[in-house]
Amino acid sequence: MDNLFTDSVERLFAEIATPEVIRLIEGGGRADALWQGLEDSGFLDVLLPEESEGAGLSLADVFPLFLLAGRYAVPVPFVQTLLARAWLHAAGIKAPPGSIAIAGFGVRQHGDALEAGTVAFGRVADWVLAQVEAQHVLLPVAAGRRELDSGHGSLNASLRWAAQPTDAVLIAADALPRIGLAALAAASHAPLLAGAASRVLELTLDYANQRTQFGKNIGRFQAIQNQISIMAERTWAARMAAQLACQGSGWEPGYLRAAVGKSRCSEAAAVIADIGHAVHGAIGITEEYDLQLYTRRLREWRLAAGTETYWARQIGTHLLQQSNHTALSFICEDISP
């Protein structure tokens, strides 16, 4: 994708997903205006073929957009909606207007009632793409009940419906895309994490170059340089892992690459958030300073859609079972592009 396009997306995010907007939405404000801005931009269907009013872009093409969504901590499921629309399109369904969160795990049926525990962006999404037993379904959030289960400022919510809503969209089992919702959710979170990591690194570098202690910039102390280098290494690795998760000529992420992407980005997230805060000291944990807007998302997205251990276990289990593969051939052939 050309830089012009990426630049225009970045300008849009900088304009409509400001720290003030994030604070408002985290504080319980509505996300409608922000979402409308994204709908108006026309970016939400870029993964669909041109004949379906999309732009026919590939997953690799939109990777820079996904990173930016993380970098700006866009407080609505932008990446998830793009992927969900593409997934639905592949399943033969035209997505309804509105934002879509993806429940990769944890959806249960109790009698008539449906429950989706701790859905990332569940607090602000219009729809949730989920799998209830064998049935894939797009559930309207407004028809159910939201419980804010993850504390102050979180965009997670647990969702409950007394019965399957009448305007739920059922997806036929015969045309399902190959990738399941767990891996789709993982692939959506990897670039968000990598993007937010890059922002946290940038804020930390700025701070280390400005803040003076004991007569010099703290960024000149070897122990701080050491910490920030570790942070940078993780940030670069997370970006590469996320790019692996968003690799492909079509719209569809691959299972193992999504697993690698989410696993490595999640592992990096906690380290990066911790070092960012350690370098910032007390100012970093104040509400008025912007750092927390991005570290909060790093921690939230790390836990969403399977942590590093979950996905590492899947990768290891795959490799153990594929007795034709050495570790190297598995990496070269099944993970690398």
Binding site: G104, F105, G106, R108, G117, T118, E147, D149, S150, G151, H152, G153, S154, S158, A182, R211, T212, Q213, F214, F221, A223, I224, S266, A270, A273, D274, H277, A278, G281, A282, G284, I285, T286, E287, E288, Q292, T295, R296, R299, E300, R302, L303, A304, A305, G306, T307, E308, T309, Y310, R313
Partner: protein, 383 residues
């Protein structure tokens, strides 16, 4: 060099109080949600502090003549670890009880002791500590708040930041400059007890990312303090503060910040029958770290009892303690997200999220890890 830490048992007479404390806490605290208890020594509840005072549990180590219980550091250790592990909201009295009381006992005049100590023991005087300033951070020698002597005592001008509980406290013990300039570094610093109700004091609470306001910024605009506001010796402030910091680093405070999360997670694992090898290993790792650190902390307490001043040993234990306190939310979060099909109780998730966010602050209070490790390195004789 750093002295060895020998395994020590808590004396039976101090252990004896544990059952009563647990019984009290079971009734007083266990109805609070875990994400509230997770705040523990940031949790403010003046009523709770008064209920402890009624039981004689404030000023446990202060002399009886000043309203204390005249007990030793081990009695305080047992009480502290039970309070902290249970997540009791102790912040109202915590600093007064742990730092300010002992400081006043050590450096105060008889009149100061008579005035402040009984109030501390009755939970009538809460204290905060004024150290950092907007441009100082860890570099306390660079502080600029100044107390100038005048006929009535001291006039105070300047400001302090990141002061825990200033908005709820009656008093602040502030480290201020009483002579010299910033270039003199640690020379000319003194400790002043500031009555926060005096004219000219403004407290601005600072909201944190968890939505709480534990910190404040405190401004002093020509605050007129009395002559006896000075505590200890003029110009000895830095030495006094360091003695205090060493004390602050030696207690069980540096082990249990994530304990409510650990206990909640353990309960959840038992209830949801999560007992896979990864969970058991993580639990065993955390518990064995804590067990060893607790033994180290008890050994430090034994040194205090013997009148030693294990400052570097305490620094080492604090740095290790911070490591496990900060690791606990990271480990538990990873494992909770590794079994995404197991339902997590809302209160457990909130506790996790709170501690994940606040854990970085555990290494801010009492010195960053870099600073502590520099102290340890010098203690080891690196030169």
């Amino acid at each position: 060099m750093i002295d060895t830490l020998e395994l020590t048992e808590i004396p039976a007479e101090d252990e004896a109080s544990r059952a009563e404390i647990r019984a009290f806490l079971m009734q007083a605290v266990s109805t609070l949600e875990p994400d509230v208890r997770a705040r523990s020594w940031l949790g403010f509840d003046a009523g709770f502090s008064r209920s402890l005072a009624e039981r004689g549990w404030l000023g446990l180590t202060l002399p009886v003549e000043y309203g204390g219980a005249g007990k030793g550091p081990f009695a305080r250790f047992v009480l502290s670890e039970e309070l902290l592990a249970a997540g009791a909201p102790v912040s109202a009295h915590w600093i007064a009880d742990r730092q300010s009381g002992p400081l006043i006992l050590k450096y105060g005049t008889e009149a100061q002791k008579q005035f402040y100590l009984p109030r501390i023991c009755k939970a009538e005087a809460f204290f905060c500590i004024g150290m950092s300033e907007p441009n100082s951070g860890s570099d306390l020698a660079s502080i600029k708040t100044r107390a100038t002597r005048n006929a009535q005592g001291w006039t105070l001008n300047g400001s302090k930041i990141w002061t825990t509980n200033a908005q709820h406290s009656q008093y602040m013990i502030a480290l201020v400059r009483t002579s010299g300039e910033t270039a003199d570094r640690y020379k000319g610093l003194s400790q002043i007890i500031v009555d926060l109700s005096l004219p000219g004091v403004t407290v601005r609470p600072i909201k944190d990312m968890a939505g709480d306001a534990h910190f404040s910024e405190v401004f002093f605009d020509n605050v007129q303090c009395q002559e006896d506001a000075l505590i200890g010796t003029e110009g000895d402030g830095w030495a006094q503060v360091n003695a205090e910091l060493a004390f602050e680093r030696s207690g069980p405070e540096r082990l249990y910040s994530s304990m409510v999360l650990l206990e909640s997670w353990l309960l959840h694992c038992r209830q949801a029958d999560v007992s896979d090898a990864q969970t058991a290993t993580a639990l065993g790792t955390i518990v064995s770290w804590l067990a060893v650190l607790r033994s180290m902390s008890i050994s430090l307490t034994a040194k205090l009892v013997r009148g030693e001043s294990p400052a570097i040993e305490a620094t080492l234990v604090k740095d290790l303690g911070t490591e496990i306190e900060q690791a606990i939310p990271r480990i538990i979060g990873d494992l909770m997200g590794a079994t995404p099909d197991v339902d997590i109780p809302v209160s457990l998730r909130r506790t996790l999220v709170y501690l994940e966010q606040m854990a970085p602050s555990f290494s801010l209070r009492g010195g960053t890890r870099e600073i502590l490790r520099g102290i340890i390195a010098r203690g080891l004789g690196l030169r």
